[in-house]
Amino acid sequence: MNVPAAIAIGCSAGGVDALKAVIGGLQATLRQTVVVCCHSSSDTVGLLCEVLGRTSKLPVIEAAERHQAQPGVVQLAPTGYHLLVENDHHFSLSIDSRVNHSRPSIDVLFMSAADVWRSALIGVVLTGGNNDGAAGLRRIRQLGGLAIVQSPHGAVAATMPQAALDLAGADHCVPLDDIAPLINRLCMA
């Protein structure tokens, strides 16, 4: 694969702790764009941004429509909207029906990110209780990107990483704590 330009991360049940581990472990010098879709039942994603921001060396913000996706910043899909990335790297939102019972949907984010970054994208599927993200990860791999899946064994909810492995396979299937160091290594030019 090319030097990665972006990292797309998806998770649901158990996702907050998993994200703390992954986002918190990313190095301060990371120049990649990080986009995240985390299913949640809360009204806004603002609180999650705050929680992650406490331990992250990179800024963590809610992705805003029409704004550019920024390198070196972690950007989370707002609650209740699908997040998509456009070809010129700005974000757009949609409130089309749920996909895999989810809005935001990981598949929606992954597929649009795959179209934009193609082989320069790393897709990451973490813990979760449904199979959102699997089709998106497959698309990422089809377009030459790289897939990291949290090993289902140690995951709080194994369904999502297992579904991703079954449908898309993975270039790396590793325990949670190994994911951030792996990304840091892959992202060094």
């Binding site: 805003a64 429509e65 909207y81 998509l84 990335v85 949609s94 409130i95 089309d96």
Partner: protein, 281 residues
Amino acid sequence: MSAPGLDNIEVDLLIQALQRRHGYDFSQYAPASLKRRVQQLTEQLDCKTISGLIERVMHEPELLPNILEGLTVPASDMFRDPTMFRGLREQVFPLLASYPQINIWQAGCAHGQEVYSLVILLEEAGLYERTQIFATDLSDRALQQAQDGIYPAREAQQWSRNYQASGGTRSLADYYSARYNLLKVDQHLRRNVTFAKHNLVSDSVFCEAHLILCRNVMIYFSNPLQNRVLSLFRDSLVRGGFLCLGLRESLEYASSAGEFTPFAEQLRIYRLAIHQERKLA
């Protein structure tokens, strides 16, 4: 899998076909979600490729309503974002109450959930008798459904919660009847609503409005089209009139947003600047 980028070419050709064959211009929609919808429509209509869909667009004009519905996906809810509806009830309605006749334009009304939400609020505020609501959409199918006011009953619970959270004073069930797994909104609520077809891409000023709601419609539009629509709203509002957008819409990239001043910014409620020579009646 087909060659990379092929699908982008096909989407461009589809847009051209719709434009030249039927006069609908989707070229200024945000490409990523439009492409998703095109792909879904291709599947739904059992076409093998987007090119196959183009052929049907060209030669089966009776499919047009289907296609428009598929490309616009009229998804909505009653009292979506209760805080916004509470803001309308508590902050905007008291100001609208000073007008003898209130005109409201709801642009992109989808299946009408928001229109009925608005009507219920107006009714409870005692303003509905002097209000005229124009509810418009691009899709004839959506307008028909909005007019019928029939929804899946499984939504009722969530919508009731939303209604309460937005400050509703009664029970939402007072406003609909339920049968089997459907609920039907009380048809009497429709008495001051006019449903009409209006395309924000190509049609012009629609009415003189005191309040315009256009929520989660421009999120599908590129910056230039968003800008066009905002100018259209500016020209349609009375001075001091209100504009409500979806809670996650950004105005930073639209030059015509300058004439709207934030009224309740968190709730995305704006007001057309009041120029000195013309004051709010």
